[in-house]
Symmetry: C2
Subunit: 389 residues, 2 copies
C-alpha cells in the first residue's frame, strides 16, 4: 500500500465521525492557546499591519528569528546569531528544502527504521539511497550504525547525512539515550557526515528523561536542527524553523525563494509574540498534562485488550505509540476489518525503508478523547484477536 | 548578475529608508483590509479554532474551495466542482508544484521574453529548456510562437507547456489581445500542449481592456489557472490557488504533501470569509484607484525626466512599468550609480531567458508613495542622462 493511499483512506476516515481514528498526527484542539492568539492578532493587525500583512523576507521575520535565537540558546545551543536561523512553512518544508540542498541522486541517507514517513517522502524526490538502522527503547542502535559505516567505508562510500528524531521519536515515542547521542556525534565527526535533528516533540516530554538536544552537543557545526510550533502552539500557523551553520541556512533560503517566497508574516509574528510575552512556556505544561493522561490511557487499554504476542513502545513523550503484532498479521490487510469495526490506525510498513514492518501499526493518542481511546483500543483488540484466530 | 544577487541588493536596499526603491513587487499597505481581517480573525479563533488552528487537508479547506469555485465560475470558468481547485501557499508554490509534476529534464517550456523572474527560477530546478517568445503592447506575439512551434515540429519536438501572464503581464503590465488569446488556445489544441495562466493582477486592471481569462475560453481542459490573494487582500496570508483538470490537481496535491503538508487553515479561512461576505469585491475598487494614480504619476515622471531614446511599457494594470533604455546602457552596471543617487530598480536581464535585455529595467509603482515616485524617477532620470553622456 502506498503512503498516499493510506493518506486517502485516513482522509476519508476523518470525515466519518462514527469511526474512531488513531490514524492522524493532530494535536488536541483543547490545547490551542486561542485566547492568546486572538489578543495577539488584534494587536498585530491594528499596530503592525504594514509588516504582518505584507510580503516578508525569505529567511523569516527578524522579530521571530531573534526570539528563536534566545529560545534555542536557552536550550543550550551555541548559535552565534540570527544568521544561523531561518523560518520555514512548518517543519515539513524544512525537510523538503534540506533535500533540495543536500541530496544528489544516489546519496546515502541514514534513517531510523521505522522513521517519520513524510521525511522519507520529502527526500525521495531527490533519489537518495536509504540506509535504515533499527531502534530499540533507547533510540537508534548506534552500534548498528557504526557497523554500517565501517562496511560502507570499506566500499569507499560515504553517508551524506543521518536523519533522526532523537527525542520522542516518530513513530515509536522513544528517546535516544545520552550515551548514544554522544556516540552518534563522535561518528559524525569521524566519518564526516551531517546530522539532521528533527525535534517536533521534545517540549511534550512527559517522562523524566535525561537528554540534551544533539544541536546543544554539536561542536563541529554538523547538526541541522529543525523545530516547529505545530505541537506547542498549533499546526494552523504553519511555522517551523531551522538552526544550522549559516552556510547551510543560506543555501536553504535560496531554495525557499522559488518554493514559496516567504512564510506568512502574520503567523510568524503570532509565534514571535507567544515567545516574547512568555506565553509559550506558560502554556506547555497544559499540553504535557493532557498528552500524558491520554498516553497512559492508551497503554492501559492496550494492556487490557490486546492479546498475547503483541507488544508496543512506551513513549516518553510525543503523540504516538507503535505496536508490533505477531509476525503473521498483515496490518495493511487488517485495516479493512478495523474500519468495519469503526476504528482506524496507520499500518506500519510505510514507516520502514526496507519494506519490513508489515505486522506493525502506529497509534495516535493526542487527538482522540479519553473515551474514544478506551473504546477504540477495545474494538481494535477484538479485530486483532479475530485476526489471530 | 544572478537573480539571487539582485535579490540581495534589493533586500539590503529595503533596509535603507533614504533610498527610494522601485525594486520590489509589494502592494501598497494602505490597501490592506485590516479592519475586515481583524474582525474575521476574532470570529474564527473564537468560533472555529478547532479548524482554523489545526492541520488542514493538503488540497485546501473546503470552505475556501467552495467560495473559489463560485468566484471563478462567476468569471466565466466552467469548473465542474471543487475537485478542480486546490489551495497553495501563495501562487509561487503553485509554480513550484507545477514544475515538479510537469517538467522532466529537457522538456520545452515556452515563456514570454521577458517573463516573471520567479517563475523561471521555480521551473529551472527541474531542468527544462526555455523557449522565449517576444512580446509587444498586445502581449505575447503569437505569430512568433506559431513559427517556433512549426520549426520544433519539423525537428520532431513538442512543447510541454506555455507559461503566460496574459493580463497585466509581469514585468511589462501589458495585456494579451483577445485575438491572440484565441489563437494561443487554437495552437494549444493543434500542437497538443498545456497553457499555464498565471493571473495575479487581472483584478487590478485600471484601463478599459476587453479580455477574457484563458481558462474561461478553455474547451479542452488545457489551461492550468493560478490565482492569488496577494494583490487583492494582502500577501501576508500566503494564499493562492490552482484551477485545472482534476487529474492535474490530484498530482499537484500529492506533490504538496511532502512539500508543506497544508497551507495555513487560519489564513485560508480569512480569505474564504472575505469572499463569502462579499468584502473582497467591495474592496477591489480602492486598490484600482490607488494603483491607477500611482501608475499615471510614474508615466508622467518618466516622460518628464527620462532622456530621448528611452521608451517604456504602458501598463493596463498590475504593479510594474518596464523601461527600455538605449542599447548601449547596461542597467546592471548602472544600478551601482543609481544606488549612490539613492534610487533602486531591478535590472531587466534576469527577466529574459536568453540573456538579452541588458538595457532594460523593471520599475514598481505600487509600493512607493506618489512623492517618492516623482522624486525617485527624477533621480533615476539624472542617472540615465549621465550614463548616456
Amino acid at each position: 500500500m502506498r503512503a498516499s493511499t493510506i493518506r486517502q483512506i485516513l482522509r476519508y476516515v476523518a470525515e466519518m465521525p462514527e469511526i474512531i481514528s488513531f490514524g492522524g498526527g493532530m494535536p488536541d484542539p483543547s490545547c490551542f492557546p486561542r485566547e492568546e492568539i486572538r489578543a495577539i492578532v488584534n494587536e498585530l493587525v491594528q499596530e503592525q499591519a504594514r509588516k504582518a500583512l505584507q510580503y516578508g523576507t525569505t529567511v523569516g521575520c527578524i522579530e521571530l528569528r531573534e526570539e528563536l535565537l534566545k529560545f534555542m540558546n536557552s536550550m543550550g545551543f551555541k548559535l552565534e546569531g540570527v544568521g544561523n536561523i531561518m523560518v520555514t512553512s512548518g517543519s515539513q518544508q524544512a525537510l523538503d528544502l534540506l533535500a533540495r540542498v543536500l541530496i544528489d541522486p544516489g546519496d546515502l541517507v541514514v534513517v531510523e527504521n521505522p522513521t517519520y514517513l513524510a521525511a522519507t517522502l520529502a527526500f525521495r524526490l531527490f533519489q537518495p539511497r536509504f540506509v535504515g538502522i533499527p531502534i530499540d527503547h533507547d533510540g537508534m542502535i548506534i552500534e548498528a550504525l557504526e557497523e554500517e559505516l565501517r562496511r560502507l567505508e570499506a566500499e569507499g562510500r560515504r553517508v551524506k547525512f543521518v536523519y533522526t528524531v532523537p527525542t520522542c521519536q516518530n513513530p515509536t515515542g522513544v528517546s535516544m539515550s545520552m550515551d548514544r547521542r554522544k556516540w552518534l556525534l563522535e561518528l559524525a565527526n569521524q566519518y564526516d557526515f551531517l546530522v539532521v535533528e528533527d525535534d517536533p516533540y521534545s517540549h511534550v516530554l512527559f517522562k523524566p528523561v535525561e537528554f540534551k538536544r544533539l544541536k546543544a552537543m554539536d561542536d563541529e557545526g554538523r547538526v541541522i536542527y529543525m523545530g516547529t510550533f505545530s505541537k506547542i502552539i498549533c499546526p494552523g500557523l504553519r511555522v517551523g524553523w531551522v538552526a544550522a551553520e549559516s552556510t547551510i541556512v543560506d543555501k536553504m533560503v535560496i531554495a525557499k525563494q522559488s518554493v514559496d517566497l516567504c512564510t506568512s508574516p502574520l503567523t510568524q509574528l503570532i509565534a514571535a509574540e507567544m515567545l516574547r510575552r512568555g506565553l509559550l512556556l506558560q502554556h506547555i505544561p497544559n499540553i504535557i498534562k493532557v498528552y500524558k493522561t491520554k498516553c497512559e490511557a492508551m497503554l492501559e487499554s492496550l494492556e487490557e485488550n490486546f492479546p498475547e504476542g503483541c507488544r508496543w513502545s512506551t513513549p516518553v513523550g510525543g503523540l504516538f505509540i507503535f505496536a508490533y503484532l505477531p509476525e503473521k498479521v498483515d496490518t495493511e490487510k487488517m485495516l479493512q476489518k478495523a474500519l468495519e469495526r469503526k476504528v482506524a490506525y496507520v499500518p506500519g510498513r510505510p514507516f520502514y525503508v526496507d519494506d519490513s514492518g508489515g505486522n506493525t501499526m502506529r497509534l495516535n493518542y493526542s487527538y482522540p478523547t479519553l473515551e474514544q481511546i478506551r473504546e477504540g483500543i477495545a474494538r481494535l483488540g477484538e479485530v486483532v484477536k479475530e485476526e489471530l484466530r
